[in-house]
Amino acid sequence: MSYTTVVGLEVHVQLATQSKLFCRCSTQFGAEPNTQTCPVCIGMPGSLPVMNREAYQLALKTSVAINCEIPAFTKWDRKQYFYPDLPKGYQISQFDLPMSEHGWLEISDPKDRFEPKRVRILRAHLEDDAGKSVHDEVHGRADSEIDLNRTGTPLLEIVSEPDMRSAAEAKAYMQELRLLLTHIGVSDCNMQEGSMRCDANVNLHIDTPDGKAATPIVEIKNMNSFRAVERAIEYEAGRQYRVWQETKQQMGDVPKQTRGWDDAAGKTLGQRSKEESSDYRYFPDPDLVPVLSTPEEVEAVRASLGDLPADIRRQLADDHGLSSYDADVLVNQGREVLAYFFNAAEKSGDYKAACNWVTQDIQRVLKEQEQSIDEFSISADQLADLISAIGDNRLPKSRSKDAFELMLTNEIDVAAAIEKLGIEQVDESALVTLCQELLDANPKIVADVKGGKQQAIGALIGQAKKKNSNVDPGQVRKMCLELVEKM
């Protein structure tokens, strides 16, 4: 018997606004508890919310970038429940008329573990975040403390259709979403800090002799990294299959279950199931007015987005000859690295070489030094010079990594690095003389080459380097072959 894993994701993204969704408090992460609050966000009697236009604009930008339709009319609803970190007793959210719906996001895997596909997006809506409960068990008995700094931070909830068919696809969806949202600058999408959060709805479609069987849907919470999303779904799929084999329980047989991911244990654990499904008693928030969007506004937002990661991948492959793998790796480095790449590539005219430097050597250094591209000591212009020096033979390819290391450690440009390496241009006549001497001294090799074994030349290259360290191996090979032809 075989099964398919079916996954839908609900992703919450904190929008990178200066202030909260319905008041002017700062949204800065990491401040002292309860220092970024005001009567509005802590739900003081009589306080009233006023929508932050910037938050709505960022949400609109995101919605357009994930290909959603933007209805002309959207409104705010109260989602009501009691919890200590929810001081108003309700969350201001959007229920039946969200600000955007029916979008999609394309995912693919450079390693081709799955076919590229469009994951449909059901809806994306804006809401205010709750505070944080800090459970402090130091003082002998469990005490809970509430930090309301986060209360009221704008959150965009992006709900996908159950279109993903593996943990890898779910992870790719999350990564693509983060790439897109950081690219357009609407969120920093930091899963550790909670500015991007994800709940997964998972079940299995199992082939049985009697046809397909669907296992009960389980919602997984508490996944704090992309890796956790992947591992949790993988684990959950295996668990559901084992449970199904034992119980044969199908969707509808048991209420929807919520399980929490325990990263250290590598397991999902059942959370106390509620006796009945919660009734949030949604109703339109009478303190707020509906928000209207015109097609012109939406078009203006669309025009302001520029090229998105998917567009850039296509351009790199189609217009600049990069492999789709390279294009993907490059785009996945994020907006700043991409800007650096384009700078170096355009200036040197060699996209492939720029891609190799950026995705290999530079990435390695950034990782080792824990640096961002802005802190990297070789500028894009200097990298372009390095690439040009190799292209016009001022720098033998075999010495290029040495030059790169020198530029890096001594913070010098390529010309200085070439000088420091003692590389001098070997002129054509010197090269002819050198190669002719070698060929004359090695008649067997000449005979082998004439007999069709061109690779025999290889033995001469090492000798040539010994005689003159500045010669370029490629040029030696080329010259020797030319000379043999004439012999």
């Binding site: 003081m44 008693r281 707020l288």
Partner: protein, 512 residues
């Protein structure tokens, strides 16, 4: 005539002329409060010292020739539902008995900026839920015309303090008639502005889509003066209307030429007291004598107004009052006692091995919520929270809340159609004059029906004014209500002023 019997406008003129000081005026009202409020019970708290200090400061600034605010030196009473950073704001509820807001409501800020002298805070039904002020958690307020009778509500203290000569100006709030009804029953003038005309920022919400802050005083002119001060757009209130505020006082005495006065067929039906009907019809005749044409109109959906109101208002209230949970501010149950009770309950369940009982036992958090809300909310507030939570529940939402919203729209359309034909609508304020305290204590439904003539204006968002138009044989005031299209307060005030200019009902005062 003692200075507490003159109108606010008259006092203001004397203050400006230097013939009266704010200290003298404030002291006179404080004396009246000392003399009579023990009986009336209009105020929850009076801070005489602070009021006199403020009055002295304003007098000093006037002497120094400074430009002063438009209410400079006039004492004013504020319903205990508007946040004031210098004051507790209790909403007459045990829940907020010690609550000190860290900020001023926009209306209070405007009063301070206008250099008014804040006298104290007036009694009300708890969280403005009620029509008699009997639902206050703290005290009874009595009708100055008959101390055995209720002043109406929920702004009962606000109306009674004006009727009793304890304050010249008063701020109330009106969600279903809570300014107009007590004004009518206490024989004073009260105006509910268009929804959005006055900022709700800092007004502790009962039903957000219906609540409006408005003025009460002993004359239309004084009401116009106070409305001009508190009206206007507020960026802190998303539902506030961004429309200019006309100079109400400038046009007040211009009669409405060719006034078309609407009389609603459905208003003069069963249940309307004969004396009230006679007084209102007499008032309509006064308008005719002043050249108005009277036109009978119909508001066919008005019979659903009370039912619609008692779905929408409790629904919003159930949500607005969710924040009073004992976590962040306000009343919290005795936690030590709660924990020990919970422990003994658990022990008992364990001894009897009652697994189901153990499973269902509250967590400490849930028990804290339950006890806090049970102990600190009064019965009417609980009733409305339950009504609202029910109406918004899954499976009932469409039948109750959504249907009520649809009827609300129809009620508004009725008014739109009516105002195509008439300028103002005249009606009773209540079906009967002031009722006895305790008369409706066991009959909440009868109490709800008191709102019959007033709730429509809230549902439709219209302005309405209540003004005295008669006295019953037993000596109780009878009120006339005028309603106008949205933002037509200027017309409403001029229409009311036409009546007062030609009648003396507003000059009657209770004996005391």
């Amino acid at each position: 005539m003692s200075i507490t019997e003159q109108s606010a406008t008259e006092s203001l003129a004397l203050l400006k002329q230097g013939e009266l000081t704010s200290v003298e005026l404030t002291q006179a009202y404080l004396d009246a409060i000392n003399a009579r409020d023990e009986q009336i019970g209009a105020f929850l708290r009076v801070d005489g010292e602070a009021a006199l200090a403020r009055a002295a400061e304003i007098d000093q600034r006037r002497q120094a020739g400074e430009t002063l605010g438009e209410l400079a030196g006039l004492p004013i009473a504020v319903k205990d539902v508007l946040c004031d950073s210098d004051e507790r704001t209790t909403c007459a509820s045990k829940m907020l008995e010690d609550f000190r807001p860290p900020y001023d409501s926009t209306v209070v800020a405007k009063l301070k900026a206008a250099d008014a002298v804040l006298l104290g805070r007036t009694n009300m039904d708890e969280f403005a839920m009620g029509g008699s002020t009997e639902n206050s958690a703290f005290k009874l307020t009595r009708n100055p015309w008959d101390l055995q009778r209720a002043p109406g509500g929920s702004s009962g203290g606000a109306a009674a303090c004006v009727a009793g000569g304890l304050a010249p100006l008063s701020i109330g709030t009106d969600t279903g008639g809570s300014i107009r009804q007590p004004a009518g029953l206490c024989g004073v003038v009260g105006l509910k502005p268009t929804y959005g005309r006055v900022s709700r920022y800092g007004l502790v919400a009962f039903a957000s889509s219906l609540d409006q802050v408005g003025p009460l005083a002993s004359s239309v002119e004084d009401v116009a003066l106070l409305l001009a001060t508190i009206a206007g757009h507020d960026p802190q209130d998303s539902t506030s209307l961004d429309a200019p505020v006309p100079d109400y006082l400038a046009t007040l005495n211009k009669p409405l030429d060719g006034l078309r006065l609407g009389v609603v067929r459905e208003h003069f039906a069963e249940g309307l007291d004969a004396e009230v009907e006679a007084s209102v019809r007499e008032a309509i005749k006064v308008y005719e004598s002043l050249g108005a044409t009277v036109k009978e109109i119909s508001l066919p959906h008005s019979k659903y107004a009370v039912a619609t109101y008692y779905v929408i208002a409790p629904s919003e209230a159930s949500s607005n009052l969710a924040r009073y949970d004992g976590v962040h501010y306000g009343y919290r149950t005795d936690v030590a006692k709660m924990i020990s009770d919970l422990d003994s309950e658990r022990k008992e369940l364990e001894e009897t091995d009652d697994k189901e009982g153990l499973e269902k036992l509250d967590t400490p958090l849930v028990r804290m919520y339950r006890r806090t809300r049970d102990e600190a909310f009064g019965p009417e507030v609980k009733r409305r929270i339950m009504l609202g939570a029910y109406a918004l529940s899954a499976g009932y939402y469409d039948a109750y809340y959504l249907k009520a919203l649809k009827v609300r729209r129809l009620i508004r359309q009725d008014f739109d159609a009516a105002f195509a034909e008439v300028d103002l609508i005249a009606s009773p304020v209540t079906a009967e004059p002031a009722f006895k305290i305790g008369q409706m204590a066991d009959d909440p439904l009868a109490m709800y029906l008191v709102d019959l003539y007033t709730v429509s204006a809230n549902l439709a968002g219209l302005p309405g004014i209540s003004l005295p138009c008669g006295l019953s044989k037993s000596g109780l005031p009878i009120g006339l209500q005028l309603q106008a299209p949205p933002l037509a307060e200027e017309k409403l005030l001029r229409g009311a002023q036409m009546f007062q200019a030609h009648t003396d009902w507003h000059k009657n005062k209770p004996e005391g």
